[in-house]
Symmetry: D2
Subunit: 406 residues, 4 copies
Amino acid sequence: MSKIDKVVLAYSGGLDTSVIVRWLQDTYNCEVVTFTADIGQGEEVEPARAKAEALGVKEIYIDDLREEFVRDFVFPMFRANTIYEGEYLLGTSIARPLIAKRLIEIANETGADAISHGATGKGNDQVRFELGAYALKPGIQVIAPWREWDLTSREKLMQYCEQHKIPVDFSNKKKKSPYSMDANLLHISYEGGVLEEPWAEAEEDMWRWSVSPESAPDQPTYITLQFEKGDPVAIDGERLSPATLLEKLNKLGGANGIGRLDIVENRYVGMKSRGCYETPGGTILMKAHRAIESITLDREVAHLKDELMPRYAKLIYNGYWWSPERRMLQVAIDESQSVVNGEVRLKLYKGSVSAVGRRSADSLFDERIATFEDDAGAYNQKDAEGFIKLNALRLRIAAGKGRDLI
Amino acid sequence: MSKIDKVVLAYSGGLDTSVIVRWLQDTYNCEVVTFTADIGQGEEVEPARAKAEALGVKEIYIDDLREEFVRDFVFPMFRANTIYEGEYLLGTSIARPLIAKRLIEIANETGADAISHGATGKGNDQVRFELGAYALKPGIQVIAPWREWDLTSREKLMQYCEQHKIPVDFSNKKKKSPYSMDANLLHISYEGGVLEEPWAEAEEDMWRWSVSPESAPDQPTYITLQFEKGDPVAIDGERLSPATLLEKLNKLGGANGIGRLDIVENRYVGMKSRGCYETPGGTILMKAHRAIESITLDREVAHLKDELMPRYAKLIYNGYWWSPERRMLQVAIDESQSVVNGEVRLKLYKGSVSAVGRRSADSLFDERIATFEDDAGAYNQKDAEGFIKLNALRLRIAAGKGRDLI
Amino acid sequence: MSKIDKVVLAYSGGLDTSVIVRWLQDTYNCEVVTFTADIGQGEEVEPARAKAEALGVKEIYIDDLREEFVRDFVFPMFRANTIYEGEYLLGTSIARPLIAKRLIEIANETGADAISHGATGKGNDQVRFELGAYALKPGIQVIAPWREWDLTSREKLMQYCEQHKIPVDFSNKKKKSPYSMDANLLHISYEGGVLEEPWAEAEEDMWRWSVSPESAPDQPTYITLQFEKGDPVAIDGERLSPATLLEKLNKLGGANGIGRLDIVENRYVGMKSRGCYETPGGTILMKAHRAIESITLDREVAHLKDELMPRYAKLIYNGYWWSPERRMLQVAIDESQSVVNGEVRLKLYKGSVSAVGRRSADSLFDERIATFEDDAGAYNQKDAEGFIKLNALRLRIAAGKGRDLI
Amino acid sequence: MSKIDKVVLAYSGGLDTSVIVRWLQDTYNCEVVTFTADIGQGEEVEPARAKAEALGVKEIYIDDLREEFVRDFVFPMFRANTIYEGEYLLGTSIARPLIAKRLIEIANETGADAISHGATGKGNDQVRFELGAYALKPGIQVIAPWREWDLTSREKLMQYCEQHKIPVDFSNKKKKSPYSMDANLLHISYEGGVLEEPWAEAEEDMWRWSVSPESAPDQPTYITLQFEKGDPVAIDGERLSPATLLEKLNKLGGANGIGRLDIVENRYVGMKSRGCYETPGGTILMKAHRAIESITLDREVAHLKDELMPRYAKLIYNGYWWSPERRMLQVAIDESQSVVNGEVRLKLYKGSVSAVGRRSADSLFDERIATFEDDAGAYNQKDAEGFIKLNALRLRIAAGKGRDLI
């Protein structure tokens, strides 16, 4: 264990990371810098200041990163229609590289030689934090208390608080949620508790951001989402900043029961885990982005994006946002988005979001050619014969030589 | 134009293909064999016999292909979680290779030297029919009347009927749907009419297989779907044949407003087109199949499938079912499915389908390792440090040499 | 056939395209503009002027495109280590988009409404010319005489010349090569003649650019190739322009018997064809580029490039250089090359080229970590255990549940 | 450290693994089972018996695995034209899964609870051995002495021998090669020593299996290689077993200076390393296999294989031979090979191998269609127009709407 003088901790102000502050101070005899970010998790971040001060922390960072989060992380990711394992919109994954970046920036500013976080040794988040940190500052040291200490249960944590006089007046002291949760502007996630049995249905009162489809309004809500270069910029004609726009989509989606997901996913560290997610705005955005791309993207570009997407999603899920391969994919994705401009009309209703209209000055939809009516010669149907004949040629040659395909 | 003695026509019994029968007889001075298949389009096929006879057809094939369709085409495709351009479940595409195969079988049986079909020169179906035909019988000739004749409007078709005494007592003679439709056990599709304007919302009365989510029951429906080797075999414990099972899923889905889709897609022949689809059973099946795979498939196998899927979907969409590359992908997909056994519990509600539980004797979900509780040493959290350190090594070396990732 | 007033012809000055000039004038009663380019084919282009004038051509373009060809087409392609079907360096394919672009530029300058070329209806080149032309000027008309006329043999062409008083004093009038050849600064190709039998070995006197390995010097030649941003810029310390550099590599390679290739390839139009190629400089460049990348590229970037390459090669082979999907891939490839700087030392000897040394200020090779000797703690071998354990976890879980892999 | 009673060691009989025997006995107080395999490394394996006996080993396994190695590992890999990072034929990588499998089989037979190997903590081989072992027997324990002990130099190893009375009468006691080498029937590899400087050329006397191209015969050697289902079965008409055939190809290649390679590669554990390889037979086999595929494989199958290959190569390099994803790819590759039958004629000369002829009863090369001569209507050149027109349609629509591609 090398000597550590100062460590920057990703600090939520909650029980676990408050224990970590003291544990770091005691175990490493070092100074702790706390960093608390508002990325839209829906809790006040300012109270973390007093808690940190009470723990003797002298350098306290509290940042509102909501706009940066949506503009530089969420939106670039959605340009690729990114979905992990066919279902998951990567709400947790995409927040981690921003935290990692900020931890390193603060380490640089404060002269810290280490960073620390409250992620466990079984999950993906430790990987995402640490890969990011190492990629941005290779000499940084990382302290992951959950991999080191023996405070392996809530009881032991509480006991540690008592022994070390850590003031545990957290409001959720007693009625702790049975789920492990994570939230930011893109989503809220639930793990643990009854979800550890994949056959058990999640309880209705677990969900926090969306009404159940049953409780959603009986009338559909229609909205129009406007895109510029692949990013949403306005709802129903009103231009909004990235964070404000996503927040509004979350409200619209949540009110209509949209964006719930219940899956078993494959973690990078090798095990399967059950997770439930609410991503109301992201679910709407995904649908809308595909719709605006459907009329503005070239076919082969769209197909190339679809083939690259699973790999891009995996990079983000596994924690490689800050990597040259992610950047290489990103420039390709971004290149494709210059023409992704226009409007999508969406219907939100009881858990579903449908694209019901799309239009764009950059549309490649050509009504003269697409029509079932007389197209006045815009398309020569006879061309199709040659097209088919030559596409079939290799198959005909093979069949002619006796190759059997049935 | 080479001499043609006998041609097998994919005959629906409708106006268009009835005109084609006579046009083929007149234009090629050849015998026409009609082939009408029940693939679950929801119309009686037997009436086609009398119509064909009235047109002087002597060899008439009427086949019930529903079980073969679902067992040998739909289910193998769903093993890959196949979606074209992120949305389309390929309901039309997957029926074409079966028709092509049967046309060639009948050509072989009847000694015909050509096949014919009623697909236009602008669409994908001509390609799918003809690629299949050429791949299975390289010397076959293909007559595509819509690419040859000048009957380019409904009026001209009607006029042709009168001139040639074709009995047009079709019930839909007057109240023709404004949409071009196609149906089989997997889906019904709509194109044309107001849909040719991508900004216009489809009219509610267009949809035929599903109630609107608004009209769906206020209580959710729960079902359990059982899988064996990646294929569904039972609903709520009742074993059903492939076609029967899919039909029941269609009813369940349709009653709950599930499976509507409105997209602009890229055709193989080069233009974009608007299509609306109802795929109630397929939408449920897709969700369920992913869910049963989520606990039974190895992670890397699942990711490999996800990366191959867009290419596989494109093959089917473009008409290459009968090709060696499709077969090569299919054996890989099928190999992955031997362990995809078990049950998925699904909630159907007002347009949405959710997987709420999944279990399997082949589950790879390991509750001892996945748990947030004490795992009694099943997983050593310290391993994560080395895992992260070595995965970060290339990034650290690069950063140490001054490579900048921000 | 729409009315054509003026057509720009890719004119080599040879027999075939001279006949095409007259045939276009006669058949379309139109003015012909000739365009002859020096792309390093090794023949004088200026004589084409007199020949065109003799045929009554008034607008004659003769361009030296060698630098543009290498700088904007060959080098970008080599950044991707592009090889078609594991063997072919795409020497013909990469020249076509430049010709197509120039044809369209000249059509715009001269107000021509059509372009024409001398490629046959069986080959890839017609596709490459025409896809490029359509992509750059969608309303252009294309005349492909070989697909239209009945001059299907050399005899008929000669007869046509006599009938139309085309002066056939071409030096190669009698001793026509038995091969169909194409050459530019990147390669020379041979097709036809005895090569149409894939079992027959090419005759030694067919090869024109390289000595046989048997005849190459008995002493190896060593050179050092310097790269900047993925492109070669100097040989043995001497900075050279792109075309000059490639020309010099061709001489060095040719003198050492390097770059011969004899393959059967799959054409885009559906058939297999035998081709022999000499690409001396390209073969050296490929080896050197991989070598400089081997020390400067991140591993995952290198692997991503390798996985994308076959698709990129196929795009170029099939004629889609001027396409949005090629551009999307190109920006990704180019992004990766900013660090591909440094020097490669190569040994050329009797048909082989080996990289024997590589060095770079951007090298990621870390001797401290890579060493078999004591590394003074630069790498902690114990990390490997956790790395392996977690990478094995999914396999262990599966095996523990009875999955059998043998 | 859990209690270990018996460990199976991959034992070469050399200094390092002899020290490991004693070190295991002393450190773990356990019984050691030695396993020595002949996989064509070119050294007698029987002497390992006496050495093991002298170290007190009671259970000694000495196996000739040459045929199994080539038949079940090398040949399946070559069916995919497998190359890592564009250059490396995976000679070391492909031997490891066989060793891992045999270690586990012997552990099962002898009731051992652990395996051990002599690979270092920096290399790929530890990963390959251990991933294989864990995949085949999830409860196995692995002891990797090089990651545990402090015998980090040759001097310390020798000292350990003296202290523990290990008889070091190995013939290479004094004149140890400066390189770290590994050999089997597919290749011999060199690392370390002067190679740790990537700019330094390997010394001529390092190479052991091949003469330098300079010293190779002045006359080319021609051979004909016969394939069945993608595997070579005969040389010049003489049927040979897999191992015998590869051995003969090695001799032929080595005598003609074929198969030397000098690269910097990316290890799975995160660093770059310099390696030199001699793979004479494999280099010939690769060229020949591509050549026989070139006339027998469908184009799209060939391209699919090319796109999957880098991923397949990476799996093998990284040690995932015994994985479900490798198996999934293998069945696809194997499916493609049923038609890969026929003969390839090769020219071996001074470091180069060229395919000069190929023929097959399963050839898809169609001379009637491919010919430059009159094809009597086998191919209709007019089809090309429609083929090009429809392939260009999306590009024309885009250009017509102002999309600019230059």
